[in-house]
Chain length 470, copies 2
């Protein structure tokens, strides 16, 4: 049985029979002769929808629930006996009439069948349906993100040596694009994750010396403090509650200040402009973790000493490359591990074995996008999604700070497990962040709009989250 | 004109005319009506080969030189007037007869044409030709190497999150295969190059403490000393001449010993077994750079404390992953940069963003190969190639040490530039190592048999190198 509810009122119901004999077997001799061969049909009976909801999405919705269930049971078609007054509606959904009318002269019914493929094809055009009903998956991870076909194609070329002139040209080209995107003077491209890039920044801070400040208001800020501690930096750790805005007035005089531009864990943006102004005033060097900011929100690194980024998040390429932007030229140092020595990268661009596949993909990913438009789309979608989730009763983390348009962290109510919410969403066709330790500990889930996410996929997401958190 | 020489004796010659009118234009009215349309033909005349060389590879060889030249001139076909006694030979090469006989009754000639595609197709079956004549390229780099189609296919799947259970399964699977391959207790898979893995080893040596010994007899051993110095290890640098065998008796008592298993720069294998025995005797920890050894020669890490490897060399996958094998469990340490902290990898396998594409490709690359057979093939090919190069008068580096079967370093004579040799070889279809600073400085070139290299491609390589170094 499938029931449709409006609040606590039943507005639709239907019964599904998975096994023969069906009621139609009694009414139509040799039923199979009318049907496409080699299918496992189920029969839908007692379909009833409250009159005022008949033209809405209740019927397709119930059928979509049926679809999810049927797929699990290896069913790939449905039979109904449709009231002749609604033939048009059923045809619109993809039902095909067959055989003679059944029922009575007063209440005639048309036997109809629907195949799974046709139904999915119809649903594809009905954007109010969750992706799984259309056989699709929408990735709302902070990485890997959905990549464009052009990026995929670029990734697939044969690998080239990191010493080949054509690869060096490509790296130069990519660097120019990245510099333009971030208004940065220099950038180095490392083979590794954002953690590697932040280690490289820690090594530079160690060379700089002086007492600094690591500011944190979430998991990723705390990780910077861990980088700093491991690099044996002399620093104050200025901690704010996770998701609370940074009180800029509490940042004192220091040789350097290090923080996240976007604190992904709480889905907030830190006030980099104000902190940058303070650093200029104090003559402090500013270092920013922009791993989840680059490519998702506009960043201007003109007054930033060092900043990190990654390939597989906002830049919408494959994971595996990380970036260190720098304001000033960097020399090599004998006191830094080779792989972390930005001076070696700055000197010749490609000091170690690289992945030409990842570089080529990132180059296409950065080159193909109109970034102003991308930023504006992400902002519009994120603002819309945040408002709708709030309206649906969801509790968002970091509401007192500046929201990150592309990262929404939701506090799942304590009577529901965040993992369960994620599983429900995954069955609905949405892959979200939930598996990181810091999310699980707090019963948080995270929705990221970093890759190519279509606006139409968001409304069913809101409904699915609200339902799963209920 | 193309001349074929045996020593200083001309054994073959031919003249090529690139532009109309051809001699056949005079003999056959409306010549074009007999020929495939839309082609740029050249005409080969005065073809003459010493009688005793007529059945050998002189003719195809001269035609292959012609091919290289013709392609540059956008020629895609050749015309000849063939002596009727040799019609079978020409047909075998792909020539097609057309039009009437020309010449005299005593010396009749059959006009024939040959298209570039057909000629290449024929050459494909004649393995004694260099790859370029067949439109192919053979990579003899130390990386990236030629990868198998299955590996390419595996690389092309959509990226997965480093926190997804299916990715964790794949990593577990890959680790089991790598452990089995190297007879190692543990292995960690890092996203980065071999340099990263060696940095991670340096960090562990720093945690171990005590005074150690870095042994070097080439570029990569010297790099280990640089790693050690940057990690501020307390160590003696025991240097041997590049390519000279390590005198094991000179390795004294130490807390640890670090060296390369294969010293790629000189194309030699170090006596790891003897040094391992010495370390056991002295209670010293042995660390090995196996970056260019894993997958190319058998290695047994059962008594080795730490060893490094990489994905894009002997394992014949894409570059981008590096490996650290370890004998004992490793704990995390607050004093090591996050990305270099093997304890974090050992604890959960995938601590940071990873590349599921690279992991999947490597898993297939390691899983698909019969490693005993691969090692034996490489050894056979390498031994053969070394002997043939020596016989052809080439001077090989490291001849007093144990040769690495898969890396041959050639000392180019001082009157020739190594870059020029590499360029000649590249035109012949062989891509070799020459661009690294340490090779250029010494006028060395390097031939590596790490990926999928067919035996048939080696004899023409020997001839090409010998010719280019003359």
């Amino acid at each position: 049985y499938v029931l449709a509810l409006d609040g606590e009122t039943v507005i639709g119901s239907m019964a599904i029979r998975m096994r023969r004999p069906f009621s139609l077997d009694e009414k139509i001799p040799n039923l199979d002769a009318h049907l496409p061969a080699n299918r496992n049909f189920c029969e839908v009976r007692l379909l009833n929808i409250a009159r005022e909801h008949r033209s809405g999405r209740v019927l397709p919705g119930m059928l979509s629930v049926l679809t999810d269930y049927a797929i699990g049971e290896k069913i790939d078609g449905a039979l109904i006996s449709a009231t002749t007054r609604q033939l048009q509606l059923y045809s619109h959904l993809g039902f095909v009439p067959f055989g003679p009318l059944v029922g009575t002269a007063d209440a005639p019914f048309q036997p109809m069948y629907l195949t799974l493929e046709v139904f999915r094809e119809r649903l594809r055009k009905m954007s109010s349906f969750p992706p799984a009903a259309r056989g699709e998956v929408v990735s709302l991870l902070s990485g890997p993100v959905a990549v464009h076909d052009d990026v995929r194609a670029a990734f697939h070329s044969p690998p080239r040596s990191h010493r080949s002139p054509s690869f060096e040209d490509e790296v130069r080209d990519l660097k120019a694009r990245l510099r333009a995107l971030a208004n940065a003077n220099h950038v180095e491209i490392l083979l590794g994750s954002g953690t590697l890039a932040n280690d490289a920044v820690a090594a530079q801070l160690a060379l700089l010396g002086g007492r600094g400040i690591v500011v944190s208001n979430g998991e990723f800020g705390e990780r910077l403090a861990d980088h700093a501690q491991r690099a044996r930096l002399d620093f104050e750790h200025l901690r704010f509650e996770w998701g609370e805005p940074i009180d800029v007035a509490r940042i004192g005089n220091a040789a350097w200040v290090w923080l996240t531009a976007c604190e992904t864990s709480a889905g907030i943006l830190n006030d980099v402009a104000a902190i940058g102004a303070l650093c200029r005033e104090n003559g402090a060097k500013l270092a920013l973790d922009c791993v989840s900011a680059v490519g998702a929100v506009p960043i201007d690194l003109q007054d930033v000493w060092l900043a990190t980024g990654a390939s597989g998040k906002g830049l919408a390429s494959y994971p595996g490359l990380s970036l260190v932007f720098h304001h000033d030229p960097i020399g090599s140092s004998d006191h830094v591990p080779r792989y972390l020595d930005l001076g070696l990268y700055a000197r010749n661009g490609v000091p170690f074995t690289h992945s030409s596949n990842l570089v080529q993909a990132l180059n296409v990913a950065v080159g193909r996008v109109d970034w102003s438009k991308r930023f504006s789309d992400i902002c519009t979608n994120g603002t819309w999604l945040r408002a709708r989730l709030r309206a649906a009763g969801c509790s968002l983390v970091g509401e007192r700070a500046t929201p990150a348009p592309h990262v929404l962290t939701v506090q799942v109510p304590s009577h529901v497990r965040s993992d369960d919410v994620a599983n429900v969403l995954e069955r609905t066709g949405y892959i979200i962040c939930h598996a990181s330790g810091y999310l699980r500990e707090r019963n948080w889930i995270q929705i990221c709009l970093m890759g190519e996410v279509a606006r139409e996929s968001l409304p069913p997401l809101v409904r699915a989250i609200a339902r799963a958190c209920r």
